[in-house]
């Protein structure tokens, strides 16, 4: 393998004597600027844990209560900080427990490096104790993976792992290291990876494409931008803002792109997709030029492709060439990092305001407000709604919190109603929809941004998938605020059963434990709210606390999330009820 290297002298251990592979792994992590990792020990990774013990002043290891928790924590950390998250596990069951997090990071393009122990080289293929083919298992859910069987491979491969995880369209990398390679000694030196011959992280912007994009946008009467996480990953927030402001283009986001532009920006017209806002969904089929920036036309965003934006010319800004024409054909494809391509586009755009067109969004917003939003965030019925909880969190945190959500109705409500003033603030499992993501991801998010308020919004179902991570919050006193919106149901599935399966509520009713007692068992301050009059004050107390805090809100049991584009329907067929 041809890799292009950069000499790094500072990270070298002082003497030139030989060190073990396990110690080398620590030096590699330090050289990559890692000071925090999540993991779980076991036989095949014990030499590395022994070194972690020796280096604990430089490198903090957080013992999650399950390896899945380690991956989601690493993801949460990566998503708020823009750095590479690191997770570690032993061979066999330790390694297989990483798979959900890898798949989640793969589909949501999250930079993560997972290190797994493996049985010694001479036992490979012998069905040794805790041997599993994690390379084979993780291949479809990693950007890259590699098995190290010799200590001397460690520096080059780990350097490459970090480079690949972070560069271009980011993603998870798994490095499996046999136990003999952890014990064996070799002369260590570390060089950061600067490139891999066969890998082109980001295509160079093509001026012809940018001119063609500018020409289409300048001619457009009803241009419409839909941006995705590419804007956040490419740190192109300012560039995007400049583009929409100069050309007066209404811009909507996918849930992965949320928070890149402040919620209250006048040209931010809301969320697209299945439970997105009415205006941006319906007007997708009325715009004349659809400008997609760093998004991949997921089916939850487009609904039926046969009726998606057929009237529009499509301009697609994208770093990954494989996304072009994958789902929606592009009339103009602008390849490259969105930070660069948008900056090149800006001077070619004509100033405009598109007032009438922007007014269309306002009109649709008013309709949605009257029919949906008003009742969600200012309900008059007795039961508490998820929407009003989010609204109170907005108010108490002054829109400054990082909101980490799990998966289900509460996730859609959180994405719809949370308000953001800063990028990298909405952390959720978008592509995979992994229940159980929320609690561990919130731990990582808090540790990745200690100065920020982190609020986890979780359903009673998903909470119980990774509830054991309360142990981490307790042990390390990580001051996350955990809000469980308890409807005593697997709400989102129940909603589908109500709407599409004649109310046959198969296995969606939850008989729940006393969540407050469970939190208290972990010595976490805990409150339950079931009346509206207690909501505001309790949320204020929670946000004011500088300690971990658990809040269970008993919400209406059978509420539905609207608007909704039924699965497979057209964005034009969005339902308000």
């Amino acid at each position: 393998m041809e890799t292009i290297k950069e000499k790094q002298s500072s990270s070298k251990p002082k003497s030139t004597i030989k060190i073990s592979g396990a110690e080398a792994i620590i030096h590699c992590l330090l050289a990559e600027g890692v000071d925090l990792l999540y993991g779980y020990p076991g036989g095949a990774i014990m030499p590395v844990y022994d070194e972690l013990y020796k280096f604990q002043d430089k490198l903090t290891h957080i013992l999650t209560r399950h390896e899945q928790g380690a991956t989601h924590a690493a993801q949460g950390y990566a998503r708020v900080s823009g750095r590479v998250g690191v997770a570690m596990a032993t061979s066999g069951p330790g390694a297989t427990n990483l798979v959900t997090g890898l798949a989640d990071a793969q589909i949501d393009s999250t930079p993560m490096v997972c290190i797994t122990g493996q049985v010694p080289r001479h036992l490979l293929g012998s069905d040794a104790f805790q041997e599993t083919d994690i390379i084979g298992i993780s291949t479809p859910v990693t950007k890259w993976n590699y098995q190290i069987t010799k200590a001397s491979e460690i520096p080059e491969i780990l350097a490459k792992a970090f480079f690949i995880a972070k560069s271009g369209r980011p993603g998870p990398v798994l490095v499996d290291i046999t136990k003999n390679a952890q014990f064996d000694e070799f002369e260590f030196s570390y060089e950061k990876c600067k490139g891999v011959r066969s890998y082109n992280p980001a295509p160079k912007p093509n001026m012809g494409a940018i001119d063609a994009a500018a020409a289409l946008i300048n001619k457009a009467k009803k241009p419409f931008i839909v941006w995705g996480q590419g804007v956040i990953l490419g740190e192109a927030e300012e560039e995007l803002k400049a583009v929409i402001e100069k050309a007066g283009i209404p811009a909507a986001w996918t849930i992965m792109g949320e928070s890149a532009i402040p919620t209250n920006h006048p040209l931010n017209v809301g969320m697209v997709g299945m439970h997105g806002n009415y205006g941006p969904n319906i007007l997708t089929n009325e715009c004349d030029v659809l400008i997609a920036v760093g998004m991949r036309f997921d089916d939850r965003v487009t609904g039926s492709l046969d009726t998606y934006a057929k009237q529009a010319k499509v301009v697609h800004f994208e770093i990954d060439p494989a996304e072009i024409n994958k789902n929606v054909p592009a009339d103009v494809a602008v390849l490259g990092n969105s930070k660069e391509t948008l900056a090149l586009l800006l001077p070619k755009l004509e100033k405009s305001s598109h007032e009438d067109w922007n007014n269309e969004f306002k009109k649709k917003r008013d309709i949605e407000f009257e029919q949906v939003i008003k009742n969600d965030i200012h309900p008059t019925k007795e039961g508490l709604t998820m929407g009003e909880v989010i609204e109170q969190i907005n108010i108490a945190s002054k829109n400054k919190a990082v909101i980490v959500s799990d998966v289900g109705q509460h996730q859609m409500i959180a994405c719809r109603y949370a308000k953001f003033a800063q990028s990298k603030s909405n952390i959720t499992s978008g592509g995979l929809g992994t229940m159980g993501f929320g609690l561990p991801a919130a731990i990582g998010a808090k540790q990745g941004a200690m100065d920020r308020e982190v609020v986890a919004i979780i359903g009673d179902g998903g909470y119980q998938m990774t509830i054991q991570e309360l142990g981490v919050i307790f042990q390390h006193q990580i001051p996350v605020k955990i809000v469980v919106l308890n409807n005593d149901h697997l709400g989102m599935v129940r909603q589908w059963q109500e709407l599409f399966f004649d109310k046959r509520y198969a296995s969606t009713v939850m008989v729940n434990p006393d969540f407050v007692k469970i939190a208290e068992g972990y010595h976490i301050e805990a409150k339950r709210v079931s009346k509206r009059e207690d909501l505001k004050a309790t949320i204020e107390t929670m946000i004011a606390s500088d300690k971990p805090y658990f809040l269970e809100v008993k919400v209406e049991k059978e509420d539905n999330v609207f608007p909704m584009i039924p699965s497979g329907a057209s964005v034009s067929d969005i339902r308000l009820k």
């Binding site: 393998m1 479809p140 993976n145 011959r197 890998y199 494989a322 996304e323």
Partner: protein, 174 residues
Amino acid sequence: MKNQWFTISVYSENNVGLLNRISGIFLKRHINIESLNVSKSEIDEVSKFTIVVYTTEQWVHNIVGQIEKQIEVIKAFYHKDDETIYQESALFKIDSALLFDERQIQNIIKESNSQIVTVSREFFVLAKSGRRPEIDEMYEQLKPYGIMQFVRSGRISVTKDEMQISALLKELKV
């Protein structure tokens, strides 16, 4: 869009796990690999996968994009049959007695342009290179007499036009 035959050519670094990654891309889309051949290429230390699929142009485009995205893949191309020169090879193992007892066998050998690779007391082996229908035809002709063993290779192919690979490698700085 209609199904057609496509030959995918993948230039890659030599890597143990890559075959798994590439075949996974087909598996995920439920597309059958009709034939697969891995060999060295015209460039030192660069391997070439030749993969034949029967699918739509949209799918092959999508698949090639996904293949090219793999870290060790330098470049992937797809071509239609009329854009390539392609062949497959086959070996037939046949009872030696037939060579002497059945006149027709000799005619088949002559007409099919195949070669006798080896002859022993028990069996002889015929090698045939060509396009799939020619090999199929020979198979059908020999079948009534009894074929002891048969094997056909994956397609190998070269393109009529230049493959833009050497220039690319220079640009990527080897």
